[in-house]
């Protein structure tokens, strides 16, 4: 049961005849009894809500920042016309703040025995799954004085995928990759390179790559050429512990890391490498393993959509164990984690030798531009202390990354917008150097 503004207005207008013509209980009764009767009749004549039928269709996935359209079909099987207000409720983060009222409410007029379709447009503001909540229908009577109200639950879920904004960097990186492949041969022999061919020595070539046996067979000096190997393994390990929850410019570090992971996956898949993924804090939160090249990116986007940072300290020992289990062959392990001194020194450094023993390790972390701004603060005591704290933090980060580099780890530390291209460049550099 619900009343409308019209009812209150009629009762208010009724105060005139009561005041002027019949100021007594009789007058009150003469106004309010018909009004109550009209309300009851209206309520009785309103189309029933419980017998309505609903069906949903539309988008099930949407990229963060885009809009999804979910259609709702309302079938009125009663013999009365349905004039109703419908609220298709979704979790608050399905819209930018303030837009919920307009987007979720629909006016609808369904004649008896027919059906109508309304479209709810969602513009989610966060990653993850958005389950549909209840549909509330307020069915007005013919006089518009009273309404029946009831709710239905029609399940539907819209999965909000990571935005993958760094895909704009993909063409330029792919061009670089082709350059790398197009050179077909490099004259430095590293790991992960395979013998390509022999050719004649030209001045400028590295004398160390002269193949003396071939030279003995030929009349001229021959050099060996190598080319980067394909079909390398890459394991991306996402740290979803407490350090990934910190926000840099209102976006959690984890989201920047996801973006970088997706770009690296797209690039490495094109380069013919196999990419696996592991998200870990104290247990495995997401895992993508052994997918075919064409299938790996969608699988990864789906796996990462519902990933949220957990407010626990990452278990570095367990993480390295999981990484080792996930990388049976020699591979490039890309750790997307923080460069905070305490977690690295206490957690990662002791277990790092296990990883670097067999694999190439690359650690990528999201830097905070705000710390950079803090170091430039001047002009008051507070500002100088701020600058000192910012400088201290940066010095610590630098120390930690030097420590890691001494262990043979490649470190990529960049602000969120630059992390994905920087990581892609580091991967290309490793590939060119044949260190995969």
């Amino acid at each position: 049961m619900a009343l409308t503004g019209r009812t209150a207005l009629l009762a208010a207008i009724g105060s005139l005849p009561v005041g002027i013509l019949a100021p007594s209980w009789t007058g009150m009764l003469a106004i309010n009894a018909p009004l109550s009767l009209a309300i009851l009749c209206d309520y009785a004549l309103a189309a029933p809500v419980r017998t309505l039928q609903f069906a949903r269709s539309g988008d099930t996935t949407v990229r963060l920042g885009d809009s999804a359209q979910v259609q709702l079909t309302v079938t009125n099987r009663s013999r009365r016309r349905l004039r109703a207000q419908i609220r298709d409720a979704w979790p608050p983060s399905s819209w930018p703040s303030g837009a919920e009222q307009g987007a979720s409410r629909h006016k609808i007029d369904v004649p008896a025995g027919e059906r109508r379709r309304v479209t709810t447009v969602l513009r989610p503001t966060r990653r993850g799954d958005r389950p549909a909540e209840r549909i509330t229908v307020r069915s007005f009577g013919p006089l518009g004085l009273a309404a029946r109200q009831g709710s239905h639950r029609v399940p539907w879920t819209v999965r909000v995928l990571p935005p993958f904004t760094s895909r704009k960097h993909l063409p330029s990186r792919l061009a670089r990759l082709r350059e790398l492949d197009g050179r077909t041969s490099v004259l430095t022999r590293g790991q992960g390179t395979e013998f390509d061919s022999l050719r004649e020595y030209v001045p400028g070539d590295d004398t160390r790559s002269i193949d003396w046996r071939a030279t003995a067979r030929h009349s001229s000096v021959a050099v060996r050429t190598w080319r980067p190997e394909r079909d390398r393994h890459i394991l991306i390990v996402l740290d979803t512990g407490r350090t990934s929850a910190g926000r840099v410019g209102d976006v959690p570090r984890l989201d920047a890391a996801l973006d970088a992971a997706l770009l690296l996956t797209a690039l490495a898949t094109r380069a013919g490498d196999r990419v696996d993924l592991l998200a870990y804090d104290r247990r495995i939160r997401a895992r993508v393993q052994g997918r075919a090249a064409g299938d790996v990116l969608p699988a990864m986007v789906n796996a990462l959509a519902t990933l949220e940072p957990e407010l626990v300290e990452t278990d570095a020992r367990g993480l390295s164990a999981a990484a080792l289990a996930g990388a049976p062959r020699r591979s490039l392990i890309v750790l997307l984690s923080g460069l905070e001194a305490a977690p690295i020194e206490e957690g990662l450094l002791p277990v790092l030798p296990q990883l670097t023993q067999r694999h190439t390790v690359l650690l990528a972390s999201v830097a905070d531009p705000h710390a950079e701004q803090m170091t430039k603060a001047r002009g008051s005591a507070q500002a100088v202390y701020e600058a000192a704290a910012g400088t201290q933090a940066q010095a610590q980060r630098r120390q930690v990354s030097e420590q890691l580099q001494r262990h043979g780890v490649t470190v990529v530390d960049a602000i969120p917008e630059e992390l994905a291209p920087a990581l892609a460049d580091a991967y290309l550099a490793l590939k060119a150097a044949g260190r995969l």
Binding site: A8, G19, M28, P309, H370, M374, R378, E386, Q392, A395
Partner: protein, 403 residues
């Protein structure tokens, strides 16, 4: 995907509503029935107390009946107005609970008592009422009710002999003329005073002689009939809470009379229209209060700024005035940045012997002591010195870069 209506609807159908509500309704019905039954079974002692129509142990129907048999008409009144109009020179006024009266009512009653030829009996007046109704009389600590001897010259008491009295005990000031009877531990429990020129008032310490259950004992009936039956009419005043005079004459703010005047000045049409508008406001409240479905909740992520720890550290520095630490940090950062600019390996950036000569060689006015103070000097003494140090370090770095 389609689903049947019953599967999606969250509203309850009438059968479910009845099934849920019947337990509560049953409990409510039981509560009401039990309440009525208990009220019937346990009517309290106070029910019909001193009421001439009541046959309860503490009622007074027996006295009233005896009086009527002797030709005294008993009239029960419950409001002060009726009591004052009904009493006259040919009647006795019995006030059963003078302590229940407000100050204003007591003043009105006092004026009635002082009228020519009136006779009043007050039952158990205590400190709340003796000041106005019996000036010059004070009460002492109450005694328990027991059989007392008259010990006075009042003819009614002499005739009645021993009666059940007690309760309030009275002291009189020397100036008041009174007859004091039935002393309990030396203080009288029955007092007859002159209240006016030809009128008197009797104060009884307790009302027990009028109860049905005690009337037949001792000389109770005799005393009661003599006190109440001396005139042809008896006005039996039972003070009640519904008495309109109880709310009159209060000292606080506007009395009800002025309010009545205020509402009396407004045409009734306005009042009724306002009432109808209140109904409209109630309907509007119901209209606005009904939500279109409940609020939707969701788990929100925790919002932590990544730079929070760094900001916290800067405030800690500030709070503890850690100028030495701040200066050390800034100096060592500057030294680290200067070392590659002047061609010194990073490992020797913090040794003055190698850094200072290299830096001063790049400067136009290479003042050695000033440079040493700037890069390796003591901690600044106050905030101003710290700010100056930061600015000087910046200036030095710029100079080296541009040279």
């Amino acid at each position: 995907m389609t689903a049947t209506a019953t599967a999606t609807s969250l509203s309850r159908d009438p059968r479910q509503i009845w099934r849920r509500a019947r337990g509560i309704l049953l409990a409510l019905a039981l509560l009401v029935i039990a309440g009525i039954a208990m009220a019937l079974v346990r009517t309290g002692d106070q029910h019909g107390r001193l009421d001439p129509r009541s046959v309860d142990p503490n009622g007074s129907r027996a006295v009233a009946q005896l009086l009527q048999d002797r030709g005294v008409s008993v009239r029960v009144v419950t409001t002060l107005d009726e009591a004052t109009t009904a009493s006259g020179p040919d009647s006795t006024l019995l006030v059963t609970a003078p302590n229940m009266l407000t100050g204003h009512q007591q003043a009105v009653l006092r004026a009635t008592m002082e009228r020519q030829g009136s006779r009043t009996v007050l039952l158990a007046p205590g400190p709340p009422s003796t000041d106005i109704l019996a000036p010059g009389v004070t009460t002492d600590s109450p005694a328990s009710v027991r059989a007392l001897a008259p010990q006075c010259s009042l003819p009614e008491a002499r005739r009645a002999g021993t009666v059940d009295l007690g309760g309030e005990r009275y002291r009189t000031l020397a100036a008041t003329t009174s007859q004091a009877c039935y002393p309990s531990d030396g203080l009288p429990t029955l007092l007859r005073l002159k209240s006016g020129a030809d009128s008197d008032v009797t104060l009884l310490g307790s009302a027990d002689i009028l109860f049905n259950q005690r009337l037949a004992q001792q000389g109770n009936a005799s005393l009661a009939l003599q006190l109440l039956g001396s005139r042809n009419h008896l006005v039996w005043y039972l003070p009640s809470l519904t008495d309109p005079s109880a709310t009159e004459g209060e000292d606080s703010g506007e009395g009800i009379e002025s309010e009545e005047d205020f509402f009396g000045l407004i045409p009734s049409g306005w009042l009724w229209a306002t009432l109808q508008l209140a109904v409209a406001a109630l309907l509007a409240a119901i209209w606005r209060a009904r939500r279109l479905g409940p609020l939707v909740t969701e788990r929100l992520p925790v919002a932590i700024r990544a730079s929070e720890a760094t900001e916290g550290r800067s405030r800690l520095y500030h709070r503890s005035n850690a100028r030495d630490r701040a200066a050390t940090v800034l100096r060592s950062a500057t030294r680290t940045r200067l070392a590659p600019l002047v061609g010194i390996p990073a490992t020797e950036a913090h040794s003055p012997e190698s850094l200072l000569p290299a830096v001063s060689a790049r400067l136009t006015d290479g003042d050695g002591t000033r440079l040493r103070d700037l890069l390796f000097g003591p901690a600044p003494a106050d905030d101003a010195a710290l700010i100056l140090l930061a600015d000087q370090l910046d200036a030095l770095e710029r100079e080296v870069r541009t040279s």
